[in-house]
């Protein structure tokens, strides 16, 4: 187990003026499962590769267990990494793939066999040890990649989108196994993904990145409920939060032609009104407004309804129960749960605290 500290960590690639990673500050505790989440190109993988020692660090400090490791080569950082492509050595058997890292560390052959067999047993790979990677399914390869990390018993596990190449059903299964693995080993894990479901379900905390910068760090539900800016509000959640232009008009907040009973506190006149699809009730008995139903998407457990509100150009998405009866073309009454809504500053895109 180990702590990992990123203090003003930056990366600038040679020949580029832009910072791929822009002074990232992040403290990861002993045994924590930290997820780095963001769209592609946001610098999350580069950050992970700097922690791994695969990328040089342009600025700031990286500490593992309070020791500065900026210039310590990857092999001496006592970390293991699972790659998106699995990166199994194609010319070696599963056994040799698992044993490769131990052989370098001059572990005795007997001890290597014991540890490899033990890890293979827990991952259900015992029958596959003599096979080569090309004779394995995607899920099995994934397990070998995981085993290669576990067998080394490292201080820190790094994952670079490890589930992206699996099909949907396997992904859900592996997600559960990774969570169990984390509980069993209790080691520090840093997990990079662009999949918000993985981030929400697996992380003790999520670090959301955009444009090389950290946007928000927090427990999954905190980040989900209290996004610091419009980027987080629209990036987390599927479908994302509705971001609607609004302005204060007397004692009410006008969202299009809809007047909402929101008192203006420290907010500017023009704001962005943000509300998640599940915080809008459709077919409500005491509606704030009526919306024209554009489309109804029944998902089985729930129904996504796309509405148009008078005076608003963008559509409003509502997550309703499966029982709703509205059809495309209907006018449906809707009510906003204002306690869950937020206001954002349209200029800075930051959330305006205590504004509702």
């Amino acid at each position: 187990m180990a702590t990992v500290s990123l203090r003003g960590l930056s990366k600038r690639y040679a020949g580029s003026d832009l910072l791929a990673v822009d002074s990232v500050d992040l403290e990861i505790a002993h045994g924590e499962f930290m997820v780095l989440l963001g769209p592609s190109g946001c610098g999350k993988s580069t950050t992970l590769r700097m922690i791994a020692g695969l990328e040089s660090i342009s600025g700031g400090d990286l500490l593992i267990d309070e020791r500065r490791v900026n210039d310590v080569p990857a092999k001496e950082r006592d970390i293991a990494m699972v790659f998106q492509s699995y990166a199994l050595y194609p010319h070696m058997t599963v056994f040799d793939n698992l044993a490769f890292g131990l052989r370098r560390r001059e572990v005795s052959a007997k001890e290597i066999a014991r540890r490899v067999n033990e890890v293979a047993g827990t991952l259900g790979l015992s029958d596959l040890l003599k096979r080569k990677p090309h004779a394995l399914s995607g899920g099995q390869r994934q397990r070998v990649a995981l085993g290669r990390a576990i067998v080394r018993d490292p201080k820190v596990f790094l994952f670079d989108e490890p589930l992206s190449n699996l099909d949907a059903a396997l992904r859900v299964g592996m997600r559960g196994e990774l969570i169990k693995l984390h509980h069993r080993l209790g080691v520090t894990m840093i997990y990079v993904t662009h999949d918000q479901v993985e981030a929400m379900t697996m992380g003790d905390r999520i670090c959301i990145m955009n444009g090389g910068k950290v946007v928000q760090i927090g427990a999954p539900l905190d980040v989900y409920r209290e996004p610091v800016d419009t980027f987080v509000a629209s990036f987390l959640g599927s479908p994302p939060a509705n971001l609607l232009p609004a302005h204060f008009n007397g004692a009410a907040l006008a969202v299009g032609e809809t007047k909402l009973p929101v008192a203006r506190r420290q907010a500017p006149n023009d704001v962005i009104f943000a509300i998640r699809p599940e915080d809008i009730r459709i077919e409500a008995p005491d509606p704030h407004a009526h919306g024209e139903v554009l489309a109804v998407e029944p998902l089985g457990a729930e129904t996504i309804v796309r509405l148009r509100l008078a005076g608003i150009a963008s559509d409003v998405l509502v997550r309703g129960p499966r029982t709703i009866s509205a059809r495309a073309g209907d006018r449906a009454p809707i009510a906003f749960d204002l306690s869950a809504a937020h206001l954002f500053d349209p200029v800075t895109t930051r959330r305006i605290p205590h504004s509702i």
Binding site: R49, A52, G53, L54, P73, A74, K75, I79, A80, M81, F83, Q84, S85, Y86, A87, Y89, P90, H91, F100, G101, R104, R105, R148, R152
Partner: protein, 270 residues
């Protein structure tokens, strides 16, 4: 069905085209020159197997053969190791003049040997390497290195970078990553260059004829040329010599051919 039939006919025709001359030389290897002069295409009536020991011992073929083996084995060994290392670096490491260097090495391919041979001759004379097997070996290495690097680089470049990263995290230094990861994975491509270089250098004539004059230092192609006089060609002995010369190439090919096919079709079938 029709396409299979057509394919069969094409294969038969191609085999006849490729193997016909070979068989013809093989039959001539067992006939004497006077028999051949009487009828060029006749089957051997008496099999003159004694021509092989004759060529080997009396006509100095054992010396030529030994010289060829020495030069080709040394050149191919160095080519393979140095070529693979260079290719690994070009494919793997980002450094400032990577592409420039690669271009300079590769551009050497475009010059036909006739252009450089006089300068090469003078250089070797100056360094005291003229008329020596070491000199010839060095020239062979220099001549074949660009193509070797080119073939291997394109293969090495297709090895996913994640594998190297994984090996680095597994604790291996760059040097060992080359030996334990790059090289074994690139084996099909390496087999391809081994065969290519062996065949090319085994048959190489131009550099050898310019750079070697000593009877005792001749390679096989030069040895065979010795039987082509101004007045008389010992066709029978030439054929015997050719067959002796071909045997190692066939063996090498048989040994590496499976890898060669893998190398040529790599990436074609996922």
């Amino acid at each position: 069905m029709i396409s299979k039939g057509v394919l069969f006919v094409v294969v038969v025709l191609y085999t006849a085209f490729a193997a016909g001359p070979f068989l013809w030389v093989a039959t001539m290897a067992l006939r004497t020159t006077s028999e051949i002069t009487l009828d060029h295409y006749a089957w051997p009536t008496t099999l003159h197997w004694e021509k092989f020991p004759q060529a080997w011992f009396n006509s100095n073929y054992h010396v030529y053969f030994e010289n060829s083996v020495l030069v080709v084995v040394a050149a191919v060994a160095v080519l393979t190791v140095v070529g693979a290392m260079a290719a690994h670096c070009f494919a793997r490491y980002r450094f400032r003049i990577n592409r420039l260097l690669y271009f300079v090495i590769f551009s050497a391919i475009i010059f036909p040997p006739q252009i450089t041979i006089i300068a090469l001759f003078q250089t070797l004379v100056q360094y005291g390497l003229y008329n020596s097997l070491i000199g010839l070996t060095l020239v062979y290495i220099a001549v074949q290195l660009p193509l070797t690097v080119y073939v291997l680089e394109s293969f090495f470049a297709r090895i996913p970078a994640d594998l190297f990263d994984a090996a680095r995290i597994d604790g291996y230094p760059e040097w060992q990553i080359f030996w334990k990861v790059s090289l074994p994975i690139a084996l099909p491509a390496i087999a391809t260059t081994v065969i290519l270089n062996t065949i090319l250098l085994w048959n190489e004539f131009l550099y050898a004829v310019v750079l070697i004059t000593d009877e005792a230092k001749r390679t096989l192609p030069l040895g065979i040329q010795r039987f082509m006089g101004d007045q008389l060609e010992d066709v029978g002995m030439i054929a015997t010599g050719l067959i002796i010369a071909i045997i190692p190439v066939v063996l090498i090919y048989a040994f590496f051919s499976e890898k060669l096919i893998q190398g040529m079709t790599a990436g074609a079938v996922k």
